[in-house]
């Protein structure tokens, strides 16, 4: 490879440029050509390529999928806790990965609807979520209203039950769901 780069040029080139202008030249003077050495006399060492030792490693992603790769790490298995399967940047539509409070039963929303102060009663859902996803915010609001309404109905049913106790053989009412005031998560 270096054979081509190390072409030696002989020092036979003319040093004085003024003589080239003259039409007549002394015959003993060398012409302006450079002699490129076509054969290289030195030898180039052929170095053996150095390659670091690699192991086969099994990578287990966070959702359990696995793949193998070659790596310099000697650990046979690598379990990742954070990867493309559970990061928001790679799953932009995943509601599970977004910063949403878990309110499956609607208890937090019901609490806010009943006891919420002005700062969170007006916006029963988290601001970040409302800012990010208006559809989800609307849905959560509707859920909260429905939950509040259901609670109200349940209370009415209980009052009816007390007033109508023993008058007819009604099946036992469903268990009362008392909202647990666990506070904000």
């Amino acid at each position: 490879m270096s054979m081509h780069t190390s072409l030696r040029r002989t020092a036979a080139t003319i040093t004085n440029s003024t003589t080239t202008i003259l039409p007549t030249r002394l015959p003993t003077q060398s012409s302006g050509t450079t002699f490129v050495c076509s054969q290289c006399r030195h030898a180039t060492l052929l170095r053996r390529p150095k390659r670091p030792y690699t192991f086969t490693q099994l990578i287990t992603l966070s959702d359990g999928s696995t793949f193998t790769h070659r790596t310099t790490s000697p650990a046979p298995i690598y379990r990742s806790t954070r990867d493309t399967r559970n990061s928001l940047l790679w799953n932009p539509s995943s509601s599970k990965l977004m910063n949403v409070e878990e309110d499956e039963a609607g208890r937090l929303a019901a609490f806010r609807a009943r006891f919420g102060r002005s700062f969170d009663a007006s916006a029963p859902v988290v601001e970040t979520e409302a800012a990010k996803d208006p559809v989800a915010a609307k849905q959560a609001e509707a859920d909260a209203k429905a939950q509040a309404k259901a609670d109200q109905e349940e209370e009415d049913n209980l009052l009816d039950l007390i007033s109508a106790f023993g008058q007819n053989e009604a099946p036992p009412p469903p268990e009362k769901k008392t909202p647990k005031f666990t506070g904000k998560k």
């Binding site: 670091p52 990578i59 070659r70 790596t71």
Partner: protein
């Protein structure tokens, strides 16, 4: 040969009847000679001698053919080379002659030439590939058909694209000095961009190579080379490739770096299998773990299909190879690096399409 028809015919006849020469040769002594011997009274020794010798040879031959001899059944039954090889406890000694490549390349005119680097006996031979990386399989099975479909531009049959003007403009011959002058550059700048051809099945953009480059600014600061060693080993660990070091081309006074004196940078070039393993590891494991990482900036790229992004030292430390023996590396010496993804795409837009399909997110204003 074909110009001489008689010769040609005789040759073909000879090929058809191979025994003609044999019949001529066998009873040479009994067949009367074609040459009229009466005219030529001169006789040579060579006229008679070969015929006599030939007949002597034929009389010495055995009449029975060796092919007719029968092989005993026991010998045929015991002939089982596979079982013999399996039953052999020790390996057979290797062949006496083994070619060894010359250690030096002594030029094209030397009689002792090294074999090409693809030959296993060459000193430059690198075996492999040994595995089919996941990212490569993803590219082959999913990404490349998708890109071809996305970039498909339908033209009705018989459509001819409008002719484009030449990129290098001619000089108007308003001046006699325009004769033989080199062509003018393109309008609006001197840079000739790469030509983007329509993407077909044979020029789907793919990742060509990945360069990991790290400039260690402290390499010359403390008069010791430990910074460069740590950077080189860290880059080698994450890339599976031995790094090259480079000297600075410019003086950087605050860091005490002098041009052509201090080795300040390490670089690893990944091709093929290593490249795809690195890309898969980067996308699946490392990049998601970076805190508050938005992605690769959309304006990155050299407008000819190569995208570069950088990782700070904290991000480089997230590679599983550095994590597994994190204590080996002095924490302050873990280098940051620039990662350049070289693709065969001609524009950055195509390269971004490819890389985002391979799992690298982009953010911000997408340029070109």
């Amino acid at each position: 040969m074909i110009t001489n028809p008689s010769h040609y015919i005789s040759h073909r006849m000879a090929a058809r009847e191979p025994s003609r020469y044999l019949t001529r040769a066998l009873p040479r002594a009994s067949v009367p000679s074609i040459r009229p011997q009466g005219f030529l009274s001169r006789r040579n020794v060579s006229d008679e001698a070969p015929a006599r010798r030939l007949s002597d040879h034929f009389t010495e031959l055995e009449s029975a053919s060796s092919l007719s001899t029968t092989v005993p059944n026991s010998a045929a039954a015991s002939f089982d080379p596979l079982a013999r090889a399996a039953a052999r406890k020790n390996q057979l000694p290797r062949g006496r002659y083994q070619f060894r490549s010359p250690k030096y390349n002594r030029g094209p005119l030397h009689p002792h030439q090294p074999p090409p680097p693809s030959h296993p006996s060459s000193r430059l031979f690198v075996p492999g590939p040994f595995s089919a990386p996941r990212a490569e399989q993803t590219f082959d099975s999913t990404v490349s058909p998708d890109i071809m479909t996305l970039c498909y531009v339908h033209t009705p049959p018989g459509f001819k694209p409008p002719p484009k003007s030449a990129r290098l403009r001619e000089w108007d011959d308003s001046s006699p000095y325009h004769k033989n002058r080199v062509l003018r550059g393109p309008r609006g700048g001197d840079v000739l961009r790469l030509l983007r051809k329509p993407i077909k099945f044979n020029n789907i953009p793919e990742i060509e190579r990945i360069t990991i480059h790290s400039y260690v600014k402290n390499a010359a600061a403390e008069r010791n080379s430990s910074w460069l060693h740590v950077a080189g080993i860290a880059v080698q660990a994450i890339s599976n490739v031995r790094v090259e070091t480079f000297k600075s081309k410019s003086n950087v006074a605050p860091w005490g770096i002098a041009a052509n004196r201090d080795s300040v940078a390490v670089k690893a070039e990944l091709f093929g299998e290593n490249m795809y393993h690195f890309l898969g590891k980067l996308v699946d494991v490392v990049l998601p773990r970076i805190k508050d990482w938005e992605g690769v900036k959309g304006s990155s790229g050299d407008s000819s299909g190569n995208i570069t992004f950088g990782l700070v030292p904290e991000n480089v430390a997230l590679f599983p190879e550095l994590e597994i023996n994190y204590d080996m590396y002095p924490p302050k010496m873990i280098p940051g690096c620039h990662i350049t993804l070289h693709t065969t795409a001609k524009t950055d837009k195509d390269a971004r399409l490819l890389l985002s399909a391979m799992g690298i997110p982009f953010y911000g204003k997408i340029v070109n």
